[in-house]
Symmetry: D3
Subunit: 229 residues, 6 copies
């Protein structure tokens, strides 16, 4: 249990949210994405906050209870297990407790339950499974130590952004730079979108015709060439 | 094909439904849960009924047709296969036939199809896959013999509860006790919810501080201790 | 890159759509289904169109950009990779570009991102994953060569139908026959539905009692026989 | 913890072993097979014994230790978990303890470790994973209650046969009948083998030509028919 | 059932075998590989032959029996199913029958059993699972129509090469060219091997330093730069 | 590309090897295990060395070639990809090059090929797949930056131990302590092994009877109690 971890600035973190997960991931050099296994149970949320990290034993949610006390306004709880576990270690009561403290959502490599009730509460969860399977409170783990999900390191206090595309982590010290890079990227995407609506092709806009040619891609007419693969 | 199986009392079964899957699973000692692989195709249903069980050969739905005749008001059809199969062995026509007999839904380890039409019909399905793949009617199986899903035994006539958290089975002779236990648990959860809304912590309410201490969990301040993992 | 591929007649293709995936799959002899791994991100669409096929390297979407130029009104883009890849090789900008050309949707064995934005655009996607993971544009592939998904061959210009049950391919030269067969099948299903609503059983309607008997299925009464499995 | 469970007769069980898993599975009506996920770590063993069953919490092997005391000569330990777990809950020390009591092998839906040492000991293990991941001893489970693996029920005292094809369970009261049926089947297979070595075809020996014809299978010559699929 | 299919020349096919799967796959432009899911049960075989293809219904091996008659000296049986199935549809008796006809091995996306006996027979099998689960003979399929595995098309008479790296298919009309290309590649690899043994680096031999530079890869010294990721 | 990374002392690392993966993992507090997905292709090796880390793009092995130059005597190459990939990015030629530099083996979350040749070379590989699928050299990655596998962080220069139980990482600065802890644990295990051979039970040796009692585990006699689950 590590207490007193520094957190990314909440105002900066709030600026990250509207860009969404895909744009933030691109903006920080195609890193930080926690993988396609972490999905929202209900589509439609987009949140950003600061990570409080938890490592649990499989089938055990003792450390989630221990972590609640470490949470404060603007946090997102990030839970992982020492071995893969889909058990429903998180449900509506824990969400109630977290909401009271201003926590904005849950990210877990494990399972959640009470998903109808969680949706009513308006507490967004990003998880790898929905499972009613209950857990025990018998084995120690850790709170607020760095964890890894999908090969990405999440330290306590890092910024987390989550939406229908999944979850991305931005290192605490990189949040301001990420906001700036995401802003630049979004501007460029706006211009590209307008161009695409006018009928311009990515092939031309991104200069890909030369790349195709360099790679030896040839254009064959269907009728003239019957030795197609 | 076994006929004339006794069923759990439908009034008692109806009392189970509002507690939901997670609470019922906890109330019967964290058993009976059919696992996170069985999901509703559309969220939002919560049903309870008595099991009619079916074992099919993979890629074959002959025994589902045979089972329809054994179904009556308040039943839920529970289908499994001798080997894993995601084929769409169940669709809108079978649902129409079952609805006519008062069947409340389908639970299957296999696949379903016509899911848009099933949703329109208001016939809830809990399955491991959506698949348009058609099946044949060529190989024998069994109806109303005990089956196992996720290590849990389901006998014909047992109570089935299904909602957005998945599916749970309650043995026929344990239904009354389950209702009572679920009621007690819900009452306790209501009190806990109220406490959590007031800001009480699970750590205190469940007496977990002593447990953490017994397990050797230590609190370290981030700043004072740089040898963190 | 193969250009000038013949396409199935769009009027005929449009007639396929209302039958839906399951009926079309049955109508063409239980073939053409692309498997339960390809799912819509949002339920509720039903589309039909002509295939433009793409083979990409994993983690690379160069050939999708190259394929856009080959697309025209009524097409559906069908993307696969040389090795399994869930990366988000398709998003809102590509969809914008395709919509401009009259493309009706995307089918991909890979991943998509910007799924909230795609839903707003009204551009249906059928995929195996949602992933924010970005891709590069560095390696050649192919456009408009035959591809295989779930053991089913998809040639450029073949008809594609996709709905909440998944995706089915109909060979270009078989589309008219498929429309006719689907019509016949639907008519028969309408009659069966009416019969089922009246309480007739599949056992009787499909002549399955004789089949059960031929296969040696016996009916045992629960009370009379205690040596059940 | 259930003590004093009756066991299948060890002499009869010994007669099952030489038939092997596939033959025994066929002899008891294609039932009892524990599925392709349970594999030997090293090929080459073929064992039969009586089941002592264990249910553990994931990541916890307390109940395996409790089960050792219930084991006696001729037993095979059968371990499963309340939720899927690949953790290495069994290793060389437990095998040493079991070998001292005459236990013939381990069947587990979980993981094992020290596999080099287990092989040296000559203690066969059938498992779903090899994993060095350690486990705790913190949560209760059960010993010698019926468990289900792959939809098959295993009661304490049932006969277990395991070889390179996997694991099969024979209900305690069915062992003698299984020996007889396996003997008959083996005799028939010996005759079939001799026939196949002489060049007879299964098509003729099993009367399948009529079946193919009944199912509408047609023979087309490659040269005469160009409308092949 | 298609009879009289032309086959690749067996002498040419025999020349493919010693190059092995990886080299042949590279020689034909990184195509034809049937994927990592198809594994030999026992390591150590390397075979080449001409494909006889089979499509079975899941849980059914009728068409394998039908295919035996179509097999002749130098063939390899290639089996797939209409839906994924790991059932043990092939065992020692079928292998005996095939060996009598000069068949060199089996490739199947399904399961095999009797694997100890198959190894004794010296009949190599490449499969996705070992399973004792028995199958029925109740549903029609096809023999000697093109099939697709891992997105690769296998037509009857195509060349198949299989070894510890898996299985590759070479189109019938491309076998001679594949032999020539594999020979060239092997020669080049021999030279590269000699160079690597002398200490030359791939970076230099393949001209990759320029590529790294073009891609913007920078070399940083560990000590001088503390802002590493 | 990071050069000049400090490495764990090779003499200390060599002392870790004989303890094996499971013991080292336990000795460092049940951490560092890279998970059951990483398996040796051939059983029987046990190696220890210092990590050189590589991150590749899926389907691309450019950075493995770049990493060779950074390897020296006693190293083990540790490869991961930005997205899951089973492609055969490593084979006999790369192994030849690495062996020349004194590298002791390969650990990869991806695939390897030429496995027969690798075995002949005596170059141990630990991987998640065998695949002949070839890769390109088109996209940049990283060498000698920290990577995460199975939630465990591997920094360049850390100690790697690999055997039939999988792979474990020991942080560079913890190697000496790990050797000491493994020695202590092994001594204790030797005593336990001797006790188990004498017939002592883990229940008694580890004081688990009290734990079972505390957890409420009851002993029931099979005959006296028919209300068993």
């Amino acid at each position: 249990m590590v207490t007193g971890c520094p957190r990314a600035d909440l105002d900066e973190v709030a600026r990250l949210a509207p860009f969404g997960v895909a744009t933030v991931h691109e903006a920080i050099g195609r890193t930080g994405y926690l993988g396609p296994a972490l999905r929202p149970v209900h589509l439609g949320a987009r949140i950003a906050g600061t990570a409080v990290t938890v490592i649990c034993w499989p089938g055990d949610n003792l450390m989630i209870h221990a972590a609640v006390e470490q949470c404060r306004d603007g946090d997102i709880l990030v839970v992982t297990t020492t071995s893969p576990s889909a058990d429903g270690s998180f449900g509506e009561l824990l969400a109630t407790s977290l909401q009271h403290r201003g926590v904005r959502g849950l990210v877990t490599t494990g399972g959640v339950r009470d998903v109808a009730e969680l949706h009513e509460l308006g507490f967004p969860v990003f998880c790898s499974a929905v499972s009613a399977q209950g857990t025990v409170k018998a084995t120690a783990g850790a709170v607020n130590v760095p964890v890894s999900i999908n090969g990405q390191r999440i330290a306590p206090g890092d910024a987390i952004v989550a939406d229908d595309d999944g979850v991305v982590v931005v290192p605490r010290i990189a949040v301001s730079a990420a906001v700036a890079a995401a802003r630049t990227r979004t501007q460029k995407e706006n211009e590209t979108r307008a161009a695409f609506r006018r009928g311009e092709l990515g092939l031309d806009r991104y200069g890909l015709r030369a790349e195709l040619s360099r790679l030896g891609v040839e254009y064959l007419d269907y009728d003239s060439d019957q030795e197609l693969p």
